[in-house]
């Protein structure tokens, strides 16, 4: 199918883009990689009167070290997230998750900002942003605000973003040295949206016991689910194979996925259990004693 008519705007700077978006209001949609908006326009699920193209805003395509974190521009493409040495070194979980998004050609275009704002419940980047406790930097003509990604993601394809606002960057705190990570997903065909996914981070105490656990699962609700109770009760435990299996079973039981005629709840629970166990095992094997 073909998109409904729109007028096209190509701002050359962020301030010009913010001005346009503020003037055009609800009739305008920013266009980043177009890998989600494109299909929605082609299928006429979206019919904005104005398209504001962000692709000339090279100032939003960057990876920058900021003290104890990494700030990544909203227009940074998935391929760069997956391959930039700085990301692979300091946030391997993010790089690995980005490398599994869609396909090679999709990753050349799709952006970090676009994925977070599109907020598909099965998407990789919202899941890892939640487990890494990232913040979104949001700009409008009126100024700048910062939102924790876990709060920014409100529901299926719904985020805390007003007309005229752009996500200009994500700020990722870099986990302490020695933190182990695991990322697992399941899809029926390589590159399809995941049916279920899990991301885990483990920090070990000198004794080898868990000092901190972070785990989140995707495909178990409208937004990525962080498992606070399981995280708290893990502290002080020794994460051997038995422990990983037991915790994974608890996670699957705690998960409350929606019924889907193609993916029955018990199937998704089983997937979550397997993926959580693998993610925990991988995180433990990569963790180094502090």
């Amino acid at each position: 199918m073909k998109p409904a008519p729109f007028s096209y705007h190509r701002p050359g700077s962020l301030s010009e883009a913010l001005g346009l978006l503020s003037d055009l209001g609800a009739d305008a949609k920013p266009l980043a990689g177009g890998q989600s908006l494109g299909p929605m326009l082609n299928m006429r699920l979206a019919r904005p009167a104005h398209i504001v193209d962000l692709n000339d805003l090279l100032e939003l395509d960057y990876v920058r070290r900021t003290g104890d974190g990494l700030e990544i521009g909203g227009m940074t493409r998935h391929h760069r997230l997956a391959s930039a040495p700085e990301v692979r070194r300091t946030l391997p979980l993010l790089a690995e998750a980005a490398s599994t998004i869609g396909h090679y050609a999709i990753r050349q275009r799709g952006t970090l900002g676009g994925s977070i704002v599109h907020a598909d419940p099965a998407a990789q980047l919202p899941l890892v942003a939640v487990v890494l406790e990232a913040e979104a930097v949001i700009r409008s003509r009126a100024g700048e605000r910062v939102a924790v990604v876990a709060d920014f993601l409100q529901s299926i394809m719904t985020v805390d973003l007003a007309d005229g606002e752009l996500v200009t960057a994500l700020r990722f705190p870099v986990p302490p040295t020695g933190t182990g990570w695991g990322f697992e997903l399941f899809s029926r065909r390589r590159g399809d949206f995941a049916i279920a996914s899990a991301a885990a981070l483990i920090e070990l105490a000198p004794s080898g016991a868990i000092a901190a656990l972070r785990i989140a699962i995707g495909g178990a609700g409208a937004v990525p689910v962080r498992l606070d109770e399981i995280e708290h009760s893990a502290v002080g435990e020794f994460p051997d194979g038995m422990w990983c299996a037991t915790v994974a079973r608890c996670i699957a039981e705690a998960a409350n996925p929606e019924e889907d005629p193609q993916i029955p709840v018990p199937f998704r629970r089983e997937l979550l259990q397997t993926l959580a166990e693998r993610a925990l095992t991988a995180a433990h094997s990569r963790a180094a004693v502090a």
């Binding site: 998109p3 082609n42 391929h79 396909h103 050609a105 390589r190």
Partner: protein
């Protein structure tokens, strides 16, 4: 106002040549290439990014032309399958697809050629697993992929021997 009143004049660089077109802003790059410029080597299957048949290069990187608007492309270099063979001589990748029977109907082939012309520059020594990962973005309803993978491995070896440009 008539539809033509909304049309914009674009100057596009396609396969190294400057081409001027007058199109509506919502016109897909795939439609401009095929219908306005007569470059029908770029195929269109799904128009939502899944099948990969419409893949072209934008500034050397593969992109779905069905998810790109022509109006976005001013100032960018577009490369389509028409430019891959030089002076009637197939590229090593095209030659390998031919020799390994990497196509039957050929509908998927232009997208695969464009994707891997770019990928083999980024990764001249791909493993079978890496090739299959990248190839997941191009649907082929005929071959079963086996011969495409063999062709890409062969092309990579040929390119390594020749030394990539």
């Amino acid at each position: 106002m008539k539809e033509t009143d909304y049309k914009v004049t674009l100057s596009l660089i396609v396969n190294g040549e400057t081409r001027n077109v007058r199109v509506l802003p919502q016109r897909l790059l795939s439609d401009v290439l095929r219908e306005d410029l007569g470059l029908t080597g770029t195929h269109v299957g799904c128009e939502h990014g899944v099948c990969g048949a419409c893949t072209v290069l934008v500034d050397g990187a593969p992109a779905r032309s069905c998810l790109t608007f022509a109006v976005q492309m001013e100032g960018h270099e577009i490369t389509t399958v028409e430019s891959v063979a030089r002076d009637g001589e197939l590229s090593p990748l095209q030659q390998a697809l031919h020799e390994e029977h990497g196509l039957q109907c050929g509908f998927c082939t232009p997208g695969i050629v464009m994707t891997f012309e770019a990928y083999l520059k980024e990764n001249p020594t791909p493993s079978t697993t890496e090739i299959r990962d990248v190839l997941s973005g191009n649907l082929c309803r005929c071959t079963g992929y086996q011969n495409i993978v063999a062709a890409i491995l062969k092309a990579a070896a040929t390119l390594r021997e020749k030394g990539v440009e």
